[in-house]
C-alpha cells in the first residue's frame, strides 16, 4: 500500500519549501482573482487600480474584488485549520469542522434571520445571526455532553444537534415555499458563496486572524492530543486546558467562516488531508500550512466558480471535495 495517512510522499528535504510555494501560489491566485471577472482587467490596469491611478479599475479592484479575495482567504484558512483541529481532537482523520453542529447552527441562525426579514434590515444581521446560531449550537453540544465531555459523548451530541438544526432549517425553508424571493435568498446562502462580499464582511472575518494566531503555538500539544487523552496527559499536556482551547478555536473559526460565506463544505476535510500526505502528521508544520493551504484552495475554487459562469463556492468545493472523500474511504485500511 502506498503512503496513506501514514508516510509522507514528499522527500524530507523538500518539506520546508511547501509553505513558501503555497504563499507564491496564493499571491499568484490573488493577481488572477484581481484581473478576472465580468470586466477583465489587464495586469497594467490592475496595477494602476491598486495605486488608484485608474479610477474605474480602482473601484473594481478595491471595492469589488479585494473584499471578495480577502474573504476567500480568511474563510479558507479558517475552515481548513478548524478541520485540522477537529481531526486532532477526535483523533480521526475524517473529522470535519461541522461535526459538532457549528455549521448547521450557523445555517439555522442565518436562515431564521432571512426568513424573519432581519437580514434585509442591516448587512450585519445575517452574519451575526449565523454566529449566534453557531455559538448556541456549540453551547448546546457542550451542555449535552457535560461531565468531562468524553469524545464519544461529544460526537453523539453533535450528531443529534446536526439532525435537529437540519430539521429547523428545512422547516423554515418549507414555510416560505410560497415566498420565492426569501426562499431564493435562503437557498443562495445555504449553497455558500462569496459573491458581493464587502469590507464589512472582511471586518466580520477578522476574528479568524486572532484565532489563527492563538492556534499557532498549539501545534505541539495537538500532536500529543492526537494520541489520546491519557497519553497526552502522561506526557505533560494540560489536557483540560488544551481541549478547551481547541474546541473554542475550532468553533470561532467555523462560526465566523460560516457567517461570512455560508455553508461551504469539505474544505476542512480535504486540505488537511492533502497536506498530511505531503508533509506528514506533525501539527507544528500543519497549522501554518493548513491556514495558507485552505486560503489557496478556497480562492482557487472561487476563481474556478467565477470562470464557470458563477457556480457557487459551496458547490465547487463539494464537487472537488466529495469525490476526494470517496477516494479516501476506498483507501482506508
Amino acid at each position: 500500500m502506498r503512503a496513506f495517512h501514514s508516510g509522507m510522499i514528499l522527500p524530507a528535504r523538500l518539506i520546508r519549501f511547501v509553505l513558501p510555494a503555497l504563499l507564491v501560489i496564493l499571491a499568484g491566485l490573488v493577481l488572477v482573482a484581481l484581473a478576472t471577472g465580468d470586466m477583465p482587467l489587464s495586469a497594467a490596469r490592475v496595477w494602476a487600480g491598486l495605486r488608484h491611478g485608474d479610477s474605474v479599475a480602482a473601484t473594481i479592484v478595491w471595492q469589488m474584488r479585494m473584499p471578495r479575495i480577502l474573504s476567500a482567504i480568511l474563510v479558507g484558512a479558517a475552515l481548513s485549520s478548524a478541520g485540522l483541529v477537529m481531526q486532532a481532537y477526535f483523533r480521526n482523520s475524517l473529522a470535519n469542522p461541522g461535526l459538532l453542529g457549528v455549521s448547521s447552527g450557523g445555517a439555522a441562525g442565518a436562515v431564521i434571520a432571512i426568513a424573519a426579514g432581519w437580514a434585509s434590515v442591516s448587512l450585519w444581521f445575517l452574519p451575526l445571526s449565523a454566529i449566534a446560531g453557531a455559538v448556541a449550537a456549540t453551547g448546546g453540544v457542550l451542555i449535552l455532553a457535560r461531565h468531562g465531555a468524553s469524545t464519544e459523548r461529544l460526537l453523539l451530541a453533535g450528531v443529534a444537534l446536526n439532525a435537529l438544526l437540519g430539521a429547523v432549517t428545512s422547516y423554515v425553508l418549507s414555510q416560505y415555499i410560497g415566498l420565492y424571493e426569501r426562499n431564493a435568498q435562503i437557498l443562495f446562502w445555504l449553497l455558500g458563496g462569496l459573491e458581493d462580499r464587502t469590507w464589512e464582511h472582511v471586518a466580520i472575518a477578522l476574528p479568524i486572524v486572532a484565532a489563527a494566531a492563538l492556534l499557532w503555538p498549539l501545534g505541539r500539544s495537538m500532536d500529543l492530543m492526537s494520541l489520546g487523552v491519557s497519553e497526552a496527559q502522561s506526557l505533560g499536556v494540560d489536557v483540560r486546558r488544551v481541549r478547551r482551547q481547541m474546541l473554542a478555536l475550532a468553533t470561532v473559526l467555523t462560526a465566523v467562516a460560516t457567517a461570512v460565506a455560508g455553508a461551504v463544505g469539505f474544505v476542512g476535510l480535504v486540505v488537511p488531508h492533502i497536506l498530511r500526505l505531503l508533509v506528514g502528521p506533525e501539527h507544528r508544520r500543519l497549522v501554518p500550512l493548513s491556514l495558507v493551504g485552505g486560503a489557496v484552495f478556497v480562492l482557487a475554487c472561487d476563481i474556478a466558480g467565477r470562470m464557470a459562469g458563477g457556480l457557487r463556492l459551496g458547490i465547487i468545493t463539494s464537487l472537488i471535495g466529495a469525490p476526494f472523500f470517496l477516494w479516501l474511504l476506498r483507501r482506508l485500511p
Binding site: S93, L224, G228, S234, G236, D238, G280
Partner: protein, 237 residues
C-alpha cells in the same frame, strides 16, 4: 521514603481500597488475573485516572503537581496505543521530551538502545505490535522520569527483547528509579525485587517473589498448580 504511596485508592468497580508504597530503586512487578485491576492501578498511580483516596509521589500529593512536572516525574507506557496519524518512530520517541521543552535530549541514544535506529523514519502505524511496544518503552525512557509505570510492556515482545527490557529496567532501578510493571509471565516475575498481587480489584499480597509466589496463592489467585520441574531457562548471551 517511598517513591509512590497509594492510600485507599478506589475506582468504583475497578479498584478497591488499594494501599501500597513503592520504594525507590526497586524493580516491582504487578501480577493478577485478567480484569483484576492492574491497568487501572497503573493509571491511578500515573495520575491519569482520578481515584478516591490519595496518591503521593515522593511524599507530595499528586493533585498539587502541575501537568508538566508530573510528566517529568513519571512515565506511563500504555498497554496498547492507537496511532491515527503516522508519526515517525523518531518523532514518537521525541514526544517523551515534551515536558522538557522538546529538547530531544537522549532520543537518538534511546532509539539505538531499543534497536529502533533503522526504523527511525518509519511511520509508527506501520510497525508490528512488538516494534510499537518498543517505541512506547523508548518514549518512556527518554522522559528520564524516576517513576516508570509500564502496563504489560513484555507481552508483545519476543524472548530476546523481553530479556533486554528487563535488563534495562534493572539498570534503571539500580540508578535510583522505581520501575513498576504489570506482567503475566510468572517465571519472569519471580526475578523482580518485589511483587504486588491484585485479585478481583483488591491488593491480595505484596512482598518478595519468594514469599508471594507460593503454591497456595497461585492456586487461589490464578487457578494454576505450580511445579518446580526443570523448565526452559532463557538468558542473554
Amino acid at each position: 521514603m517511598n517513591f509512590l504511596d497509594l492510600k485507599d485508592a478506589t475506582v468504583p468497580g475497578r479498584l478497591d481500597n488499594v494501599t501500597l508504597g513503592l520504594p525507590r530503586g526497586k524493580l516491582i512487578g504487578l501480577v493478577g488475573p485478567n480484569g483484576a485491576g492492574k491497568s487501572t492501578l497503573l493509571r491511578v498511580a500515573a495520575g491519569i485516572l482520578p481515584a478516591e483516596g490519595s496518591v503521593a509521589w515522593n511524599g507530595r500529593l499528586l493533585a498539587g503537581i502541575s501537568p508538566l512536572e508530573r510528566a517529568r516525574c513519571t512515565a506511563w507506557v500504555p498497554q496498547e496505543a492507537h496511532f491515527e496519524f503516522g508519526f515517525s518512530v523518531r518523532s514518537v520517541v521525541a514526544q517523551g521530551r515534551y515536558a522538557h521543552g522538546d529538547d530531544e535530549s537522549g532520543v537518538d541514544e534511546t532509539l539505538a538502545r531499543f534497536g529502533l535506529a533503522a526504523l527511525a523514519g518509519r511511520p509508527v502505524n506501520r510497525l508490528s505490535g512488538g516494534e510499537r511496544a518498543r517505541v512506547l518503552l523508548a518514549r518512556a525512557i527518554v522522559t528520564e522520569a524516576p517513576l516508570q509505570l509500564w502496563d504489560e510492556p513484555l507481552a508483545p515482545l519476543d524472548p530476546r527483547h523481553r530479556l533486554e527490557v528487563l535488563v534495562l529496567a534493572r539498570e534503571l532501578a539500580q540508578s535510583g528509579s522505581t520501575v513498576f510493571l504489570s506482567l503475566h509471565d510468572l517465571s519472569l516475575a519471580s526475578s523482580l525485587d518485589i511483587l504486588a498481587v491484585l485479585c478481583e480489584t483488591r491488593l491480595r499480597a505484596i512482598g518478595s517473589p519468594g514469599e508471594i509466589l507460593t503454591p497456595d496463592l497461585l492456586l487461589d489467585v490464578f487457578g494454576v498448580r505450580a511445579s518446580t520441574a526443570p523448565s526452559l531457562n532463557l538468558e542473554l548471551p
